[in-house]
Amino acid sequence: MKAFTTMAYRQIKRFFRARSRVIGMFVNPLMWLIFFGLGWSKVFNFPMASALFGGVDYLSFLAPGITAMTIFNASFIAGISVIWDKQFGFLKEILVAPASRKEAITGRIFGDSIMAVLQGLIILLLTFTIASSLKFSGVLPMILIGFLLAVAFSSFGVSLALRMTSMEGFQMIMSFLMLPLMFLSGAFYPVETMPTWMQYLAYINPLTYAVDAARHVLVNAPATTATASIPGMPTVSLTRFSLTTDIGVLSMLALAFLVVAMISFERATIE
């Protein structure tokens, strides 16, 4: 356990040391929430609009997605610290230590994940002030969902970073993946109304299940679902999968990526 707790401790300590980075992490999700969210919420302000978003207002539809997205961003980017450690040499110090590498890397991933979830939580609490149909009882289950998501993507980020030497390379891959994963997750618009080919891509996107689960637990489903009475306007349900499916898929992904990260770190050399 010593390598696990020590590395988790180190990641958390480092996170709070870099204050500018902490503030920077909130800028991106807040931009989406405020400019994108408030902007579109005025467009979807007409009486029937809630039929498009499972019976709730647009901001309440968007908020769980933004929370999931924040956790996804924060956990993915945490992987870059592995490249940092390579360049500043700290990685050698861990590789030469007589401690279980599996434990060390898991500790690192858990430390990063805790910080990612914390960031998501702060964004979530902010969304409570502008979205009307969210329930506080969803916060606790959201922590669990967020943690699974964070473990999956920080493991992915760490495995990727272990194979790379430059931060620029990592950042390039990240910015290449970030937007498609976000747009294909159903965070901004429902999966149901996407073109069929996009729906298939959404189904293989881990983030889709996190967004779906977040809506399950966070949004107060309306007692009577509004149906669209305007010709051609679709009626969309709030969630796509059952909560069990969502959590099942997320748990499996988190575990799979964690195992990949462990194996990658076990094999890491300084060559």
Binding site: R10, F88, F90, P98
Partner: protein
């Protein structure tokens, strides 16, 4: 005799490049053993194989009685290492760096705290314990790395160019620590360097390594006996014939150096100098400057390879490395 380190025909290839080509040596318990060699000789590669970070392409090595390939975990428990390049967490404080190291090596509680303070005191950094490492000078970082490597009381300590890029005062300090570690804790120390004075000051035995091979091994006295002769350097006026070697039966060896000086080997410099002046006068050569000395390790290296080991020859490279360290320090 029990050995702290044994290396038997170690080879390391990086693709086509053979960095270490069959290195064998033994280090006794409690001994300071130095690898002395120029840049790119294979010193760091050898250390990395001994500390289990690189797998040898072939050959065998044991450290503290354990095979480095078959029992890496047992080796790791018993060694401490200061890498050539910085390896501290710069965002954390000196104390936190020490704490994390101690924890990972299985220490905890009051024992760990005590050890950390002892070691910080040993390298005279206790008053800076709560400062972030990124605000440390190069010398302070080096001292902290040494302190960190000692927390878990290793049996064998590896130091890869411990004083590279440091000012003379800091180097002297670090030499002092290294000597004290040997004396007070009977620690076995394996160090690499390309400073001959460092090897001479610290090491009980020295292996000279070049192009991945050990070309000579022994105490510094033994190595100097290889050259045997005294060495005279003269600077002569650049006459019609240019700068050439001098010939006479008392001159055992002669070489024109790249900087224009002429290097002569003689049995006894004190007796040879008058003869040399006479010879120069006869040949119409004007001597501008004379120095002579007992052979140094640099002369040994020159004798064995025909090249200089001296800092001059490496300084360009050194500066580049120092620049790299500096960059990281920002």
């Amino acid at each position: 005799m029990e050995y702290a380190i044994t290396a038997d025909n170690l080879v390391k290839k990086y693709g086509d490049l053979t960095a270490v080509r069959g290195v064998s040596f033994k280090v006794k318990k409690g001994e300071i053993f130095a690898f002395l060699g120029p840049n790119g000789a294979g010193k760091t590669t050898t250390i990395h194989m001994l500390v289990t970070l690189l797998k040898p392409t072939s050959g065998k090595a044991t450290v503290a009685g354990h095979d480095v390939v078959k029992e890496p975990d047992k080796v790791r428990k018993k060694i401490g290492i200061v890498f050539q390049d910085p390896s501290l967490d710069r965002e954390l404080t000196a104390y936190e760096n020490m704490y994390i190291h101690g924890k990972i090596y299985g220490l905890s509680g009051d024992k760990l705290k005590k050890r950390i303070m002892e070691m910080l005191k040993f390298v005279e950094l206790e008053e800076f314990k709560d400062r972030q490492v990124k605000f440390f000078s190069g010398g302070m970082q080096r001292r902290l790395e040494i302190a960190r490597a000692l927390i878990h009381e290793p049996e064998v300590l590896f130091l890869d160019e411990p004083t590279i890029g440091l000012d003379p005062q800091t180097r002297a300090h670090i030499w002092e620590y290294i000597k004290r570690m040997k004396e007070e804790h009977e620690m076995t120390i394996f160090l690499t360097t390309h400073y001959m004075d460092e090897a001479e000051q610290l090491a009980d035995r020295i292996a000279i390594i070049d192009h991945g091979k050990i070309i000579a091994e022994g105490t510094s006295e033994e190595l100097k006996k290889l050259v045997g002769n005294d060495v005279i350097y003269i600077r002569i006026a650049n006459g019609k014939e240019g700068i050439k070697c001098l010939n006479a039966d008392f001159i055992r060896g002669c070489k024109v150096l790249p900087d224009g000086r002429v290097r002569l080997e003689v049995v006894n410099a004190a007796e040879a100098l008058p003869k040399l002046f006479e010879l120069a006068q006869q040949n119409g050569i004007k001597i501008l400057e004379v120095t002579y000395h007992r052979p140094t390790l640099n002369d040994v290296f020159l004798y064995l390879t025909g090249r200089e080991l001296r800092e001059e020859s490496a300084s360009g490279f050194d500066m580049a490395k120092i620049a790299v360290r500096r960059r990281y320090m920002r």
